[in-house]
């Protein structure tokens, strides 16, 4: 009688532990990996750039170069307790009127980057500049975040958390160029403004 009671208790405890483990696993899978983009930063592929701060926003203005690729370099730091592997860009990226996300590479040029907990590494985000021919000359465009494809603890869960949105350390901004520097524009392609 007593033994069976003990057995039931042990089973109950095991069940609770299992439930806790499962819940923890699900929670881990559902929680977002702690990956942050930080400075120092640098840009290439533009002839002029400047940085300024307004409120809590740090903005890096770049001069638009139609058809050129802006290469924006920053540090990615793993603030998670598990290793994180970055496998490039996710398919869906935030909308931006004059920038198209084309790639993310590490310092060695590789598209896969493994970061141990606490580890940082420089990465370069490639952004193709284009589309001015359909944007009014007084508008602008931002890139403020990038969506990365990540593995956490060596696991791709297949859940939405595999795609991680990382805010950039600076908001990249460019103004629409005048038509002389927007070679694909036609007589009717650009709206006024």
């Amino acid at each position: 009688m007593r033994r069976s009671r003990l057995g039931r208790r042990a089973g109950l405890v095991a069940l609770v532990l299992l439930a806790l483990l499962a819940a923890g696993g699900i929670a881990l899978a559902r929680s977002e990996p702690a990956l942050r983009a930080e400075g120092p930063t640098s840009v290439a592929g533009t002839e002029a750039t400047g940085v300024f701060e307004i409120a809590d926003r740090t903005v890096r203005q770049v001069r638009y170069d139609d058809g050129g690729t802006l290469r924006y370099t920053f540090e990615l730091t793993n603030h998670d307790r598990l290793p994180i592997t970055v496998r490039g860009l996710a398919e869906e990226q935030p909308p931006s009127r004059l920038f198209t996300y084309t790639g993310l590479t590490g310092a060695d040029g590789r598209t896969t980057l493994r970061l141990s907990p606490g580890e940082s590494a420089p990465v370069t985000l490639d952004l193709l500049m284009g589309g001015c021919e359909t944007l009014s000359a007084r508008a602008g465009a931002f890139v403020t975040a990038v969506v990365l494809r990540v593995e956490r603890g060596g696991v791709l869960t297949g859940l939405p958390t595999d795609d991680l949105t990382v805010a950039l350390p600076e908001e990249l901004h460019t103004g629409s160029p005048r038509e002389a520097f927007c070679p694909s524009s036609t007589a009717t392609s650009r709206p006024p403004g």
Partner: protein, 611 residues
């Protein structure tokens, strides 16, 4: 080129050339335009030559006689009857072209003028192939057109035949192909090959005068046939009076590089962009005119001659353009001016626009940036709460072909973002004076001022980073009170991002709620030097960054997600407590947080003591 000295001309030219070499932006207005130069300032404001100028041309329509006959008896009718007998022209442009000597008056009798001969005229082979055939190409611009033709098919057909339709024409090509882009055109510089942009032709001092009882009697209806209804280019001494100009994609009235002009009692309405636009001009007067239903501004004095560029005193030495006794309403902006330098606007009404007055240093390519030394005084700036963004952009009306949008019936399609509900907006200006105005019933802000970092205007010199939003004075205005003394509050009287030195707000008169503002630290008085630089103090976000992505033609960006400027502000009540909501939040939020924390601590202590 500038009023100041030929040396500056050279400097500016060198700067522009340098920018070009760097691949940067060159001068441009809202539409592509040739690089503009400031006049040398030797011109003067013309005077009206009356209705008896011996040098005259008279223009009339078939029904002018009937219209004159319908006039009430009096001197105006008698004058029109007399002029009718002298009418030899059916077209205003034809009459202008016939002018043989300077200071000629073209009298335009009542009627509606479509100028069909010029609206529909075929182009010469040269003017159809400017992209490749131009003998006077711009030094640094490629011939790429941007004319949003009401008939896109026409452009494709032209392109298929190897024709081109550029907008950024050199002055020489503008003059030679006068009606590529303009319904009526006046070109005053007959020697485009020399260095001078001064008026030196038979068109100098031209007077174009409607002879009706009101401007409504003589209507030039462009019907969106050309980019501009009338263009006065290097047309020193132009006097334009008593007429209506309407339905242009760019400008109803366009004055460029002109030293000495008067625009008096005109109506400019129903245009996709501007009613009256003066650019890089001097010795100008715009008065007694009305502008409405314009997608940008009713009156735009942009890149005014930069007479005070080196003036570090608050008072301007001279104003380039005076704007007085006008009524600009139901536009996106009542008045605006990127690089609106040395402009004096007084005794005007700016009302029922999205924003009443705006000046800025936001957009690159305007000569004379950053903006400085404008004065706005004794204006009535009120009820600027029209939200065209939700009414016509979000609703899809502005997606229709231009001629189907209903511009003459009150549709306004904003081409630029602006904070709905704002009276006076200084977006990166210096030494501007806002004084002795009535500023009321603007539901967001009475006045708004913020810093525009230099890189946004394509100036990446780090020493220029903080060169805007300095030394502006706002004083002796009646805020939230109309001229009858009735309280009609603004949402917040003054909004400032706390950036810049030498700014002050003082001696303004407020309603019973007192001054409402968002100042973190009220700046010292004007006499004490105004605001000071506070190291490390955060700059408030005015919202223009998020709104800069606005593009009325783009499904995503016609209403940028983070842009709050297009939200209609609620009408403020007259019983508002002193201190504006934002300002109050600055003070109240920390107090409330502290009180809550104290309460929590006390609660915990009680619980512990009970335990």
């Amino acid at each position: 080129m500038t009023r100041r000295a030929p040396a500056l001309v050279a400097s500016l030219a060198a700067l522009l050339a340098a920018l070009t070499v760097l691949g940067g932006a060159g001068p441009a207005a809202a539409h592509e335009e040739r690089p503009a130069q400031f006049p040398d300032g030797t011109g003067h404001r013309p005077s009206f030559l009356g209705f008896d100028n011996p040098r005259q041309r008279v223009v009339c329509q078939r029904d002018s006689a009937e219209r004159v006959a319908a006039m009430p008896d009096g001197p105006v009718k008698a004058r029109n009857q007399r002029l009718l007998a002298s009418c030899r022209y059916r077209s205003i442009q034809t009459a202008i072209d016939s002018v043989s000597r300077p200071h000629t008056s073209v009298y335009v009798l009542p009627g509606t003028y479509h100028e069909a001969k010029y609206a529909k005229a075929g182009r010469s082979d040269y003017c159809s192939h400017l992209q490749t055939a131009s003998k006077s190409p711009l030094p640094f611009s490629e011939y790429i057109g941007s004319l949003s033709s009401p008939d896109p098919g026409a452009e494709e057909a032209a392109a298929a035949e190897g024709e081109s339709n550029p907008i950024a024409l050199s002055y020489a090509d503008q003059r030679r192909c006068a009606h590529n882009l303009n319904l009526i055109a006046v070109f005053g510089d007959r020697t485009p090959g020399n260095d001078s942009i001064r008026c030196d032709s038979r068109f100098c001092g031209l007077q174009l005068v409607g002879t009706g009882m009101t401007p409504a009697d003589v209507v030039v209806d462009n019907r969106f046939a050309k980019l501009n209804a009338i263009r006065a280019d290097r047309a020193g001494g132009l006097y334009l009076s008593n007429m209506t100009f309407q339905q242009a994609e760019f400008n109803a009235i366009y004055v460029l590089e002109t030293d000495g002009f008067v625009i008096d009692r005109v109506v400019a309405r129903g245009n996709d962009e501007y009613g009256i636009l003066a650019f890089a001009s001097d010795h100008g007067l715009i008065q007694r005119s009305e502008a409405y239903y314009n997608g940008d501004s009713g009156i735009y004095p942009g890149s005014g001659s930069d007479l005070n560029a080196d003036n570090t005193e608050f008072e301007a030495t001279r104003y380039a353009i005076e704007i007085r006794r006008n009524d600009s309403h139901d536009n996106t902006l009542g008045y605006s001016g990127t690089a609106g330098n040395s402009i004096w606007a007084h005794d005007n009404d700016f009302h029922d626009n999205a924003t009443g007055i705006a000046t800025d240093s936001l957009f690159p390519g305007h000569p004379g940036l950053p903006q400085d030394h404008a004065r706005w005084n004794r204006n009535r700036i009120y009820s600027n709460n029209a939200n065209w963004y939700t009414a016509f952009v979000d609703s899809g009306v502005c997606d229709k072909p231009m001629e189907q949008r209903g511009y003459m019936q009150g549709t306004v399609c904003p081409v630029v973002p602006t904070p709905v509900g704002t009276g006076v907006l200084i977006a990166g200006g210096n030494y501007d004076s806002t004084d002795h105005n009535w500023i009321y019933d603007n539901w967001r802000y009475g006045t708004m001022q913020f810093w525009v970092p230099a890189p946004l205007r394509d100036d990446y010199d780090p020493t220029h980073l903080y060169d805007t939003s300095n030394h502006n004075h706002t004083f002796q205005n009646r805020m939230g009170i109309d001229p009858t003394g009735t309280e009609r509050p603004n949402g917040t009287d003054h909004w400032w991002d706390d950036q810049g030195v030498g700014n002050c707000w003082e001696d303004n008169h407020y309603g019973s709620a007192g001054q409402t503002d968002n100042f973190t630290v009220p700046p010292p008085s004007c006499a004490d030097g105004g605001s000071v630089f506070l190291p490390g103090a955060p700059v408030k976000d005015a919202g223009f960054l998020s709104c800069s992505q606005y593009d009325r033609s783009d499904p995503t960006w016609k209403h940028p997600p983070a842009c709050e400027w297009f939200d209609s502000p609620a009408q403020p009540t007259t019983m508002a407590a002193p201190g504006d909501a934002a300002s109050g939040a600055v003070l109240v939020a920390p107090l409330a947080t502290t009180a809550a924390a104290l309460g929590l601590l006390l609660g915990l202590r009680r619980r512990r003591s009970r335990a």
